[in-house]
Structure formats: C-alpha cells, structure tokens
C-alpha cells in the first residue's frame, strides 16, 4: 500500500468520525452537552484571534516541554547508569515501578502540597514521562550487540567511540519510540495537572473555567488545540531525534 493511499484512507476515517460527531450533535440538539465539530472549530478560530489564547498555549507548552525534556534526559542517563551497574538497577526498579503505578491525579494532589501551581504541570509531565523513557531506553541498552562491545574492548577502542557508534545507534529507536508516546502522555498529564491545580494563564485553567461556566464550545475548542499541539510537537520531536541519530550515524 502506498503512503498516498494509506493517508487517504486515514483522512476518510477522520471524515467518517467527524460526520458521526456532527450527526450526534444534531440528534442531541443541546449545545451544552455536545457541540458540533463546525461550532467547535469556529470557536477555536475565534479564540485564535485573541492574544490570551496564544499566551496560554505558550505557557502550557513551555512548562510541559521543560518537564518532558528533563524526563527524557534523566531517563536516558539513569538507564545508561543502571545498564552498567546491576546494583543501581535493583535499587531504582521499585522507585520506577511505584512512579509508573501511581495515578496522575494522586500525584497532582500530593504535589499540590509541595509546590506552587505554576510548576505542577512541569513536575507532572516529568514524572509521567520518566518511567516510559527509562524502561524503553534500558531495554535498548540490553539490545546492544555484545559481540560489537567485545570487539571494541579487544581493540581498546576509546569509550566515546563505543558510546557514539555502538550504544547510541542501538538505543536511538527505543528513545524515539519512548519520546513519541511520552510526549502524548506529557500533554495529557500536564493539562490535567493545570486543571486540578487551576494554574492561571494555562490551557488547563481555560478548560476549567469553560467547564464551570458550561461553555462546551470552549471545552471542545481547547481540546482540539491540545490535540493539534501535542501532534505537532510529537512530529517535530520525532524529526529532530531522527536528524540527531542520522548525524551520529554519518559522523566518523
């Protein structure tokens, strides 16, 4: 199947669900319960004309991305260390299993007691993404070709070359996969944290306000904005990571 036909099929699927949504909104005929996709898009375009919309988008994006990038860096470094030190792996495993299992809402409630609401989305994005990146990267280190490592050891190859030419190429696909799924989780959890903590001037705060005032159009418009933003960031990040990994592969 060509990429054109698969894209076409995907777009047709999207169109099918949009039509279904529209018909459901017509059937319910109550804009407080369900607005039509046309009304939601119109409201989104209206909001996009306001400076406050972009400011909220920018604030949320920045805070969530700081948490995400920090988790990515920490996850990779800890995975690299635990893959070399078995005792550290054993020590860290319960921590990561606990972080992975704690519901995001519980984390938010806990963190609300420790820090100001403006930092919560960063922290929540961090703790949500950290175990995803850690476990994926750790698995990646396990797939590193042991025979290549043995070869490098016999030839007494410099450690930075071993890292650059053996470890990084083995781990990169796992990091890309973790970053890709982690970014979606970061946005979901980060916005949830903003809603619960009512952090002012954020996407979450706008969603919270819209819900209180039963502005369903706004809830849908902001939700569409989150989906678009999350998708755009995921694509950008994937391209960026692929570029970095290609640069690593082609450098001597």
């Amino acid at each position: 199947m060509t990429s054109f036909t698969s894209s076409l099929k995907y777009l047709l699927s999207v169109a099918f669900w949009l039509v279904l949504w529209h018909m459901a909104s017509l059937a319910i005929a109550n804009s407080i319960i369900l607005v039509s996709p046309i009304a939601a898009t119109a409201r989104l375009l209206e909001l996009a004309g306001e400076g406050a919309f972009w400011q909220s988008l920018g604030t949320s994006l920045l805070r969530i991305m700081i948490g995400f990038v920090a988790a990515l860096a920490a996850g990779i470094v800890i995975a690299a260390l635990t893959s070399r030190m078995k005792w550290l792996y054993t020590l860290m495993l319960p921590i990561f299993n606990v972080i992975k299992s704690i519901p995001v809402a519980s984390f938010i409630m806990l963190v609300l007691m420790w820090m100001s609401s403006s930092n919560i989305s960063t922290f929540i994005a961090f703790v949500t993404v950290l175990p995803i990146v850690y476990f994926n990267t750790y698995e990646g280190t396990k797939t590193t070709d042991i025979k290549l490592l043995e070869m490098a050891k016999v030839f007494n190859v410099r450690p930075y070359k071993i890292l650059r030419d053996i470890y990084i190429p083995a781990v990169t696909p796992h990091v890309i996969s973790a970053a890709s799924s982690g970014l979606g989780f970061a946005f979901k959890a980060g916005v949830a944290a903003e809603i619960i903590s009512t952090a002012r001037g954020t996407i979450g705060f706008n969603l919270h306000t819209a819900r209180i005032f039963l502005q369903t159009e706004d809830v849908f418009a902001w939700t569409i904005a989150i989906v678009v933003l999350s998708y755009a960031m995921e694509r950008t990040f994937k391209l960026l990571l692929k570029r970095v990994s290609n640069d690593t592969k082609t450098s001597t």
């Binding site: 070869m151 030839f155 007494n156 070359k161 030419d165 001597t252």
Partner: protein
C-alpha cells in the same frame, strides 16, 4: 627492549553447563611468527580464542601474557559496524588516527580490492567483502599479537592468494595465532602447527 612475558595457557578447565570443552589444557606460543591451531569442529578452537581474548574466563587455570600485548583480532564472525562505511569501520579501532593511519587504511582497502566500496555501508557488503574488511580493520592497528579465527573463510579464490600475501607481509616480526581448517593456509604461513584434538600442545618444543 624488555621482552614481553610468554603467551601461555596453563592447566585450563572450561565447561559450558554440562558440556566439557577443556580439561587440564596446556598451550604455549612462540615469541614471534605464526602459530597455527587446527582441528575438527567442536574441539573448542573458538572458545580458545575467547579465552585468549579475555571474553571467557576459564573455570580453573591461568592465561598468561595476553593482557600485556596490544591485540588485534579477526573474529570468526565479522563483527562490523553495519551502519558505518568500510573506511569508518577501519578508523573505529584506531585510538589516535593520524594521516599515516588513514593512508594505511586506504592502502589496505586498495590491496583487498575494497577501495571503490570504502564509502559504502558495511551492511551492503557481500560476505567476502565483510571478511576482507574485518581483516583490514585488524591489520591497520599497530598490534603485538594478531589472532585470526578462520580469516580467509569465504574469500573469493582469485583474491585469496593476494590477501594471504598481504597478511603475511603485515605480520612480519609479530606474533600471530591462526585458527584454520585449511592445511594449505597453515603451510603457507609456516611457523608451528598443532592439532587441538591431540594434546599436549607446546609450540616451543616443536619443530616446524
């Protein structure tokens, strides 16, 4: 120059699970030149290489002198960086590559008929090309000891004599341990030949 300690395996015992590979195995090597180890499959030739390289540890016994030397190796498998090109694979093993090293890399690539494919990724090489590249990677280094585990296996018959001549030339005055099934190869390189299936194995007490 201070002479390096002798290369020696003493009283080696090695099992993999239930399978016994070596029992009270002893082997020592000449100070210079080729020492060829022959023998049928299943007698532990590659395990021996792994013991000498420190990849495997013996259950009992001593392995002496190997960690005192700069070792280069052609493994039984090519062990190339498949995502790197031919030249990059060679340069990978050089600690401080200088212009001379790169010139040497190109000379080896030329003499093994790989120069025109030097910028192709190793994953696109044929089996024979990979074997030649693995040999170039070993020969480019300034080794004291070269370990060759069936290095000419799968080479084009027309190319093999030139590749063997190049190997012999680059190994002059060095210690070389060659593992092979091929008696013609062993005879070409001269030096000592032992059959691993017929211990005891003491190269320095044998005649060529």
């Amino acid at each position: 120059m201070i002479p390096k300690p002798a290369l020696e395996l003493r009283y080696i015992y090695k099992n993999f699970g239930e399978k016994n590979i070596f029992t009270n195995f002893n082997l020592n090597f000449p100070e210079v030149g080729f020492a060829t180890i022959m023998g049928p499959s299943g007698y532990g030739k590659t395990t021996l290489v792994n013991l000498m390289l420190g990849i495997h540890k013996p259950d009992h016994g001593e392995i002496l002198g190997f960690d005192e030397r700069k070792i280069a190796v052609v493994f039984q498998e090519d062990r190339l960086l498949e995502h790197k090109n031919g030249l990059e694979n060679i340069m990978f093993v050089l600690r401080n590559p200088a212009k001379d090293d790169e010139d040497m890399a190109w000379e080896l690539l030329t003499r093994t008929r790989l120069a025109k494919d030097a910028h192709k990724l190793a994953r696109n090489y044929s089996g024979g090309m990979k074997r030649r590249l693995a040999l170039c990677r070993a020969l480019v280094t300034d080794f004291d000891l070269l370990i060759l585990d069936e290095p000419f296996k799968g080479l084009d018959v027309a190319l093999k004599p030139d590749i063997m001549a190049l190997t012999k030339q680059r190994c002059e005055g060095k210690q070389v341990i060659l593992i092979t099934h091929d008696m013609q190869e062993a005879e070409y390189f001269g030096g000592y030949i032992v059959d691993i299936s017929n211990p005891p194995l003491f190269f320095d007490e044998m005649n060529t």
